[in-house]
């Protein structure tokens, strides 16, 4: 399937709002090589204030390298990064730290013997805050992530979800204009993951731009305003979640069939014009059919073809979600 490398936003509220705001992050033709391997090979990205921009890709696609380059932990080989319109390399460290913060992917990014509060106080002081201001800001940030009661406990006693929320709180200490979140929910249970996502939503609510690197497709629907999908360091897709869903339509279907008396044709012959039978299994009193629908055939035609020869379709579902299909097709390794 051919998909344009960059799908422009068409219309809609998110698009029109975004267009009116100057970009918080602009990345143009960013290249980062490690020896002969290009971790980033000409990446373009624009994220506007108040947006959640999902960065999708398989392991090794370049997501983390991109985030680390934005925050200054990795040098770019070439290309341009602008933060609020200013070339990132020319920004003094203090200004850059105020502008952009990272929520790293790992769990172990705190001093485990210290309490959550003490950890945040330490980092607040390193961000240049005075003692009183640091105490005040730490209390505020801890409260905003719902950790006030646990604030004086050692971080070693925190759950994964609590550590992740503490990590978000640390990133919010400077009230950054851009928040980079790297695989924040990959090891969290659904409830904890939802807590983190709603935290991030509240951050965009006050105008911050968020770049959210993830492999979890289920979480970007209804959460991300835009998506950039990376494969082998290149942008494979850029657009909205809806556009990503339409980028690949899953045509593999799984049906549960039941014969009405004796069918006049077997399943494969009944469907020969509608698609290809991949697998047919007998289960109790019905058949489980895995079937690839031909691109020019609609589902109702296949159902009708079965019905007229004596097969009832009891249930039908796609083998994969549209997002999952798009992800797999767009990130499929070449060759």
């Amino acid at each position: 399937m051919t998909v344009p490398a960059h799908v422009e936003l068409e219309s809609g509220q998110a698009a029109s709002t975004a267009e009116t705001l100057a970009p918080a992050v602009e990345v143009h033709d960013l290249v980062r090589t490690f020896g002969p391997k290009a971790a980033l090979a000409g990446v373009d990205l624009v994220v506007r204030p108040g947006q959640v921009h999902a960065l999708l890709g398989r392991n090794g696609a370049g997501k983390t390298t991109l985030l680390r380059t934005l925050v200054g932990l990795v040098d770019a080989t070439s290309g341009m990064v602008r933060l609020q319109g200013v070339a990132a390399p020319t920004l003094p460290r203090a200004s850059r730290a105020r502008l952009i913060q990272l929520v790293p992917s790992g769990d172990r990014t705190f001093y485990l013997r210290l309490s959550g509060r003490e950890n945040l106080l330490f980092f607040a002081r390193l961000q240049g805050m005075g003692k009183a201001a640091a105490r005040e800001q730490v209390a505020r940030c801890i409260e905003s992530v719902g950790l006030t009661e646990a604030a004086r406990r050692a971080v070693s006693t925190y759950s994964h979800g609590m550590q992740k929320r503490l990590s978000v709180a640390r990133a919010l200490l400077t009230e950054p204009a851009v928040l980079l979140v790297d695989e924040a929910t990959h090891d969290l249970d659904p409830a904890a993951a939802e807590q983190v996502r709603s935290l991030i939503r509240s951050v965009t609510g006050r105008g911050a731009a968020v770049i959210w690197a993830t492999q979890r497709l289920d979480e970007i629907r209804g959460f991300a305003d835009e998506v950039t999908l990376l494969r082998q360091g290149r942008v494979r897709f850029h657009g909205t979640v809806e556009q990503l869903q339409h980028a690949a339509v899953s045509r593999r279907l799984i049906m549960r069939l039941q014969a009405r008396s004796i069918p006049s044709l077997p399943v494969d012959q009944a469907l020969s014009a509608a698609g290809d039978v991949v697998e047919l299994d007998l289960m109790d009193d019905h058949q489980i059919l895995t079937f690839d629908l031909h691109p020019d055939v609609v589902l109702s035609a296949a159902v009708m073809a079965l019905h007229v020869v004596g097969w009832d379709v009891l249930a039908c579902r796609r083998e994969r979600s549209e997002l999952e299909s798009a992800f797999l097709e767009l990130t499929e390794e070449a060759g």
């Binding site: 680390r68 932990l73 040098d75 790992g106 001093y111 961000q127 240049g128």
Partner: protein, 282 residues
Amino acid sequence: MTAVAIAVRQVVSDLPKVGAFIRRDLLITLSYRLALVADWINLLVQMVTFYYVGKIVDGATMPVYGGARASYVEFVSIGIALTTFMAVALTTVVQALRTEQLAGTLEVLLTTPTSVAVIQLGSAVYQAVYIPLRTAVFLGFVALIFGARFDPAGVPLTLLIVALFVPVVWGLGLVSAASTMTFRRGGGLVGLGTIALTVTSGAYFPVDVMPGWLTPLLAYNPIGLTLEGVRRSLLGDGMTGGEVFSLIALLVPMAAVTLALGGLAFRQALRREIRRGTLGVY
């Protein structure tokens, strides 16, 4: 404004952050109470060992300070105190770096607007306060329990000599840290050099017993020079102004060289890691 001036201004403006490092390290140390107690017990056991070794050492081989021959316990306790002090100073930055890497906090630290020099200083400052206190208490115990005689009048000169010695060790520590950052466990090579310097310094036995051909080298061993100065201050009748000046004339250039080398090596190692994107890898 030159790059150096900007860097200096950044370091100066970051200095108030050092207090946060002290608080962090104090709280972490207090959270490991058993390790703290074990450290003191270890020191005491070491001293008891040397006390009994001293029983079999011929007192006549001990050097004379201020007209009186030192006992082995007096002699070696100063060696232990100074080499322990040196070992800690030498490994503080390396250990801090490793700890931050293992804790996963190194990259987070480096995303804060804090100069690398202040991160180094902050990582070491707690030890810099704790170790002299520990050394003083240790020597006090040795005097009390084993009857060693240290002259309190020699303390100011001792402090001056140790103050001259610290930058030398600090520079070597930075080289070691750079080596660790680059080769992960590369501190071993620097450690080997340090052991060679320690063995030939006269920390545990008088240098007179070593082969004569080593004598010219021993005269430029910074640990040996410092030890001799401290022993003369605490066990003898001190040093003349000329002797102090000579010591300063030797230690200051050594400090300048090791600090410059260490600073450069560390900066280069850090740049390399950021260039390669392997800062958090351990």
